[in-house]
């Protein structure tokens, strides 16, 4: 049954979207280059040449369907060979629209070889009213690889007058290092989300949240400066080999104002993709 809803934009195409992207990157003569690229359905990748002298590759992931709804599937696999360096981001925010049946499945799998560095920096995911999303992030790191990941979620778009009352969200992270599980996250929201998010233990009425994880040689030394950037609506901790930060904000703009400097800090001062900068 299709339910009309005045606030949630409907995805124009009725057929289900499916996208598969597999990207392998390798280090060659001091630069990171594509080794294998496989694109299927609505998943595409654009490889941006970094500035002259840059060692990292900048894959930009594109979902050409313009948004996802129940039953849609999107899967990304990125593999970095020894010493390869990349900053992966997305061309736009991922929009999850009202689901009439089923949930959106997003599977992200990352593999980092010895000495590789990957910054996994997709733009925000926006959940519209009635959205149902199940997402997983699995990363396999070598003992000496460097990793930075962010997942930011916006619950509706307040500024656009789009409120969200019901949704389903499952966001699961499993980060392994040298084969052993290093970090796990299981975020889960179901049902009357606006009511749940209003509670003090959840978001206290905020409409945006983000989780950041960083594994790397300098991670511990970045804890204090990171806390300075996050301010009163964020928290950070370093323990057992990883730096973790959580932050909330009243809306997407306020979230981005702190995410951008925080991610730049964790990238050792390297600028973010142009798409991230306001």
């Amino acid at each position: 049954m299709i339910v009309a809803h005045p606030e949630a934009p409907a995805r124009p195409a009725p057929q289900r979207a499916e996208g598969v992207l597999r990207l392998a990157l390798k280090q060659e003569a001091g630069r990171t280059r594509p080794d294998r690229v496989y694109q299927e359905g609505c998943a595409k990748v654009r490889l941006v040449q970094g500035p002259l002298g840059a060692t990292e590759a900048e894959p930009i992931l594109i979902n050409s369907s313009g948004g996802l709804t129940g039953g849609d599937r999107f899967s990304v696999e990125i593999e970095l060979g020894p010493g390869a360096e990349a900053m992966a981001s997305t061309q736009a925010c991922e929009r999850i629209y009202r689901a009439s049946a089923g949930e959106v499945e997003i599977r992200n799998r990352l593999r980092l070889g010895p000495g590789a560095r990957l910054d996994w920096l997709p733009q925000e995911t926006i959940l519209f009213d009635g959205a149902a999303l199940s997402r997983s992030l699995e990363a396999d790191l070598a003992p000496d690889s460097e990793f930075l990941a962010v997942e930011a979620i916006l619950f509706g778009r307040k500024a656009m007058g789009e409120s969200l009352t019901h949704a389903t969200l499952r966001d699961r992270w499993r980060i392994r290092q040298g084969g052993a599980l290093l970090h796990a996250e299981d975020l889960r929201l179901e049902g009357p989300v606006s009511e749940i998010l209003a509670r003090a233990s959840m978001l206290k009425g905020g409409a945006a949240l983000a989780t950041i994880l960083h594994v790397g040689r300098r991670a511990e030394s970045l804890l204090e400066p990171l806390r300075g950037i996050l301010g009163a609506q964020g928290g950070a901790s370093f323990w057992r080999g990883r730096l973790l930060a959580r932050l909330t904000a009243p809306d997407g703009l306020a979230l981005r104002r702190r995410l951008e400097p925080a991610l730049t800090l964790l990238r050792g001062g390297r600028p973010l993709s142009r798409l991230w900068r306001m």
Binding site: E185, D186, R188, S201, L203, R227, G234, S237, W239, L244
Partner: protein, 238 residues
Amino acid sequence: MAMRMDDLGAGGGGGLARERVGGAELLRLLTWLSPSFPVGAFAYSHGLEQAIHEGLIHDRESLRLWLEDLISLGSGWNDAVLLAEAWRAARVKDSAALRDLAELAEALAGGRERHMETMLQGEAFLRAAAPWTGVAEPAPLAYPLALGETAARAGLPLEAVLTAYLHGFAANLLQGAVRLIPLGQSDALAILAALEAPLLAASARALRSSLEDLGSSTFLSDLIALRHETLYSRVFRS
């Protein structure tokens, strides 16, 4: 999401899991979950000290709701899922599953103090349980797993263990919080009475849970627990 259909069925938690608890099992449950059993729970506030400091918890109702959220939709719920999984794996002596669970529980403890809280209590519990288990030098293990495994080996029924664990979790945080807010003992008891229904509901759900049911909605509670690390004047270790 609505309640899952299998919540309505009679299957799932049958057999030993739903047996009545009596005799030696009841005694062990009372002993191991007693506030005087030396796991050191009183030293941890699970972030509540910071939440009170920042005014997120400030009276009887806000404290009751915070605790209910932890048990029904937060870190207390995750503990219950992990405990149930450990109990089942220990019943069938699945040591590979227990190893994976130990790794998962540690990786899920979402910050330095949360990790310390669950690991030190787990270790203290196993050491204190040595007269029953005969294990004097236990390996490090998160607290809900330590209890789940030990209880399964001693033949304690899962539902009773889950209820006792969640009650201990809530009652310990409640005792710490009423001193910090502060609230009187009658408020604390009113909260404990009001938490009975959500406690029983969570343990009944956890009885039929699998690892797929892991997941917490209490994002600010998890965030606040990180901020506790920089709280200047503190009574609790988390």
